[in-house]
Symmetry: C2
Subunit: 279 residues, 2 copies
């Protein structure tokens, strides 16, 4: 689709699953998603498919993520429109999730995917809580598709200056939401190449910012006499998450993105294009 750019692509043999990240205008991205879902439905037969990662359909899940010039409400609308189109034109059952969910229990992807494709084949007819938001109340060999809207996710790991994985597990437990920690943090303690690591998904960096997570880890690790060794990103991070971290540490209370030279330049270039078009 013209104007849609593939930013990242990852396939995993054990998971038997591909993740494709692309960006573009809302209309372009929605059209690309529709074509991808149609193609996957034509190529992938869930009766033949095995893999370690849970899945419910040939296209398992499609999250729209607002990056620039659109907000979450726009992405929810996109999920609703794409869901309706996939249900009608492709005849696939569609569930809306996260910010686009129509029932509280469908915000969480794991609930929708419970029992996977194999269980859904009968549950979709027999269990009214599993009636899809769009499309037929029956599952064919392409399965069902989950479509929704969510904030950008940041995969962020913090290495500790110790070999003791027990410290990483204790710190992970302190910072993650599920055991009483920060609202938008999923965390596990593990050992990576002999070093204790707190491995995280930051699911809403605007509400639970990166710097707050890192400083909480620093405080919790210090209680065991351990320092942070380093951090690493897995995949991409929105620029805003880094600029906000810089502003927080530097105490730049009134930092405005207009003050970033490259952004001012992009705005000036865009304004001149508009001026030129108007002549």
């Amino acid at each position: 689709v013209a104007g849609v750019y593939v930013l990242d692509q990852h396939s995993d043999l054990d998971h038997n699953r591909s993740v494709i990240t692309y960006a573009g205008s809302p209309a372009g991205v929605a059209e690309a998603a529709f074509q991808a879902i149609a193609q996957a439905a034509a190529l992938i037969d869930l009766e033949q498919h095995v893999g370690e990662h849970p899945r419910i359909g040939a296209t398992d899940v499609v999250p729209f993520v607002p990056i620039s010039g659109v907000n979450m409400a726009d992405c929810v609308s996109m999920a609703q429109e794409l869901g309706a189109r996939v249900g009608e034109e492709l005849g696939l059952p569609v569930y809306l999730y996260e910010e686009a969910a129509t029932r509280p229990e469908r915000r969480n992807l794991e609930n929708i995917r419970r029992g996977q494709y194999e269980a859904l084949k009968t549950a979709i007819r027999e269990d009214s809580t599993r009636t899809p938001d769009f499309g037929p109340i029956e599952v064919g060999p392409a399965g069902a598709t989950v479509i929704g809207a969510r904030a950008p996710l940041i995969a962020y790991n913090v290495y500790l200056d110790t070999e003791d994985v027990g410290v990483a597990k204790a710190v992970a437990k302190a910072v993650r939401h599920s055991s009483g920690g920060l609202r938008f943090v999923k965390a596990l303690g593990m050992s990576v190449e002999g070093r204790a690591q707190v491995s995280m998904n930051l699911t809403n960096f605007r509400k639970t910012p990166v710097f707050r997570v890192v400083e909480m880890i620093r405080t919790e690790a210090a209680r065991y006499g351990v320092n942070i060794h380093s951090s690493e990103l897995v995949g991409l991070i929105p620029q805003e998450a880094l600029l906000e971290s810089a502003a927080w540490y530097l105490q730049l209370h009134d930092l405005n993105s207009d003050q970033v030279l490259e952004q001012r330049l992009a705005e000036a270039a865009a304004a001149q294009e508009v001026e030129t078009s108007a002549v």
Copy 2:
């Protein structure tokens, strides 16, 4: 000039001086600078000009600053080429300064501007150390022009949690280059709206980064029992200076600009444009 964008413009009545910041391709920016110098020479008569700020010509100084896709050596070449053109086509004496300087003492703008326009009228003929790099060895009513290349300058102020301007003066003295501090820091202590402020120019943020300056101020102020209240930018800051600060505080040792979503997106869009052009 097409493709050249004015980012900032500042005129000051007391100084009787205008500062215009613009950006674009190297060829575009060089052409814009030439036209600006020609226009200023036609409009401004130094025999009539008064103002508090020292100046040597109708166009006093033109620094080329590398932002993206060019390096300092490119900007030095631009300064040399523009200097030669201004000397030949406009008949103005031109001095090269900072990274483009042809003599060590000409790196510093203040040395070239010594005595201003009024003194230069005779000194240019009588003092061989003041022979220009390009153009005639005589000064007309448009004066002389200083052209060069330098790193982006960041105007950065740190407010302290005290009314005592003496603390700001002591901290400024500790961090600035001229009195033994960091190589690329100019600093003054002053009182702004009743609060002590360390007012700075960071003249090379790649070699003396913002975070190091802020943390040194934090340490020096703590010696007086004073904390940092906040920071502020005056004007623009290169994005790289903020991303490097985020990476330093978050200990993201291997942060690559490829991992910033917006940059990956811009690269993907540019690559697709090239692909399309090649078809």
